[in-house]
């Protein structure tokens, strides 16, 4: 190569690298500019300000712990004990937690020497180690206390409301009620609620111990009480999970069964009539494009809320998706096998059965099984709209923003459900495609 050529080569290469550099800088730069636009379009700075870290804390602590409320109604002096302050979590008449004592003066021992005493006349006395004793009285709509004017940041007081947060628990006082929250790790009442005779019993006691409820054998009674737990509603949740999986299963399989014959109509080599083919394809595009979301809303009118509506929404959308992929698979079938079967004088249906189905079956099965798993997730979301399954329970539990332990429970169940479906579809895929003869 002459030195002139080399020079040309070098210039050329420099140009090449300039272009590559432009590309290498250009793409990230475009993305960066886009992100900058998004940063302001989505109001991220405002969001950072509004972000409520207290909520985050509540959420994380709620997930693994529960609180027991001790509440005095300041108008009638009645004291109630309830897990999470809910009606369903109320201690039965005449029972109360072990850390509450006294009759006229009710003493609540929060632990770590933090003690709250409910005194007569709506008076309350709180011993906080290292701070001293706080005295408060509720009168009408106001609360008076002996608190000094400069307060530590864990006390928040006005004449209408006093809130004290100690490491052991929280106390809030208002004119109408005085509440003490005592925190404990774990999910309380997960197995049995207070009204079950099995509450507080160990596993061994129930399985091997003496009969607890004279009416029922221990295991049967315990299972039934667990199943009907009012607080955690295991039965409803099991049904909800079942409904969600059912939606995914019916929707996916139904769609596959409808899409298979239709796909023949959309595949060039099996549907010589162009008009029919195009019509079928547009139909597929349409049902896919409308999206499960809108189908859900449309179908809810005809079928009402429930899993059938969700299943049908999935079915309709996926008929479009399957129709498209199936017909693509059908377009690509190998002619040789069909021809071989045809040459024996086979009838048209037999040709499809032996010439086509064995070829496309692995592709179709793989596709269907993959969708079975992904539709389990879709069914969760669709349930939230159409009113069925674990999706609705989850969204509503989150929207009411209090029972985060339930939310966590649902989330864990959903993840497990999806993972099990994932595993199941993988297993079936291996079994069916690995061994099945057309």
């Amino acid at each position: 190569m002459t030195s002139l050529d080399i020079q040309a080569s070098k210039t050329h290469a420099e140009g090449l690298f300039r272009r590559k550099r432009l590309f290498a800088f250009g793409v990230p730069a475009v993305i960066l500019v886009y992100f900058a636009y998004i940063f302001f379009a989505f109001d991220v700075p405002g969001l950072v300000q509004r972000a409520n870290m207290d909520n985050a804390r509540t959420l994380t602590s709620d997930i693994w712990s529960h609180k027991v409320h001790v509440t005095r109604d300041n108008r009638n002096g009645e004291i109630s004990y309830a897990v999470e302050g809910e009606r369903k979590g109320e201690y039965p008449e005449g029972k109360r937690p072990a850390w509450v004592s006294g009759a006229d003066v009710i003493t609540v021992d929060l632990g770590g020497d933090t003690i709250v005493r409910f005194l007569p006349d709506n008076r309350t006395e709180i011993d906080v180690p290292g701070f001293g004793s706080v005295e408060a009285q509720a009168e009408g709509r106001t609360v008076t206390t002996n608190l000094p004017s400069d307060l530590p940041d864990w006390i928040n007081a006005s004449d209408r409301r006093v809130a004290i947060a100690t490491p052991e628990g929280r106390i809030t006082l208002t004119g109408s009620k005085t509440e003490v929250f005592n925190y404990f790790a774990g999910w309380e009442l997960f197995w049995f609620t207070f009204d079950s005779p099995y509450h507080g019993m160990g596993f061994g006691q129930i399985v091997f111990g003496e009969q607890i409820d004279p009416e029922r054998r221990n295991i049967i009674g315990a299972m039934s009480d667990f199943w009907h737990n009012k607080m955690w509603r295991h039965k409803d949740i099991a049904w909800a999970l079942g409904e969600t999986i059912l939606m995914a299963f019916l929707g996916t399989m139904g769609a596959a069964m409808i899409a298979l014959p239709l796909a023949f109509l959309a595949a060039k080599r099996f549907a010589p009539v162009m008009l029919l083919r195009t019509a079928t394809r547009r139909l597929f595009d349409f049902v896919r494009g409308v999206d499960a979301l809108i189908w859900t809303v449309v179908l809810a009118r005809a079928f009402g809320p429930g899993p059938m509506t969700g299943a049908l929404a999935i079915l309709i959308t996926d008929t479009g998706t399957f129709g498209k992929t199936f017909s693509e698979a059908l377009e690509n079938v190998d002619d040789k096998q069909i021809e071989g079967v045809t040459s024996t004088g086979a009838k048209p249906l037999q040709r499809y059965r032996f010439g086509v189905i064995p070829q496309v079956m692995p592709v179709l099965l793989a596709q269907v099984l993959y969708f079975l798993e992904s539709n389990t997730r879709s069914a969760t979301i669709i349930g939230a709209i159409t009113g069925g399954g674990i999706g609705l329970m989850l969204t509503q539990a989150i929207q009411t923003q209090k029972d985060w332990e339930e939310v966590a429970y649902y989330i864990i169940l959903i993840i497990l459900m999806v993972m099990v479906m994932d595993w199941l579809s993988g297993w079936l895929r291996g079994k069916l495609i690995g061994t099945k003869d057309g």
Partner: protein, 271 residues
Amino acid sequence: MLSINGLTKRFGDKIAVDTANIQINEPAMIGIIGRSGAGKSTLLRMLNRLSDASDGEILFKNEDVTAMRGAARRQWQSRCAMIFQQFNLVPRMDVVSNVLHGTLNRRSTLATMFNLYPRSDIHKAIDILDRLGIAEQAPKRAEALSGGQQQRVAIARALMQDPAIILADEPIASLDPMNAQVVMQSLRDIHEEDGRMVIANLHTLDTARRYCDRVIGMRDGRIVFDGTPAQLTTGVARDIYGAGSDFSEAATSTEIETLDRTDAPKVEAVA
């Protein structure tokens, strides 16, 4: 018996088979030779009615095959089995099922949809496989077999049809010499033992010479030779293949003996 009169096939402007006339009066074993694109496959596909003729007629025992439609056509196909270069089996199904496909025309659609065949057919299929020396492959998937074995499965499928005619479109083109020999011998045996007519497209001269009673040569869609192997001189072959004087038969050969004459190692045939 089989009479092909003025059979023509046009693809657009292209004439793939040009007024072919063949008369076959007894169940012979016939080889059709010619170079690639000569129209051999097209001819056979018209015979089996896999494709329609543009012109001319095929008469079998005075029945007009070209005119058959629907069930009659399928009925004809079942009497006129076809064997393909690429075997054209259903690879994911087991060997016996593939052989049983030969009975599809006789059985009701519904029963076959569920793979339900009479036990006697299954026995017969295995007998045929045994005759072809691959009975022990019966339960395997077709795709698990070697090329030669697959072609024998295809022959078994053809036999299962109990056909009057067996068409074979370059049955040994995808096979190594050893398997080629086994397959050609099977066809010859079928012809001799069952007295079935066999028409085979072949692309090597020596195979045609060795196994066929009669050889037909095609060139550019026309039949340019029709005679006994003995009449097939090198000169005639040059005509058929349109080759110059550098044409050597060995170049088109796939026979083991031909190879043995060179220095390649000797191969033992194992079924």
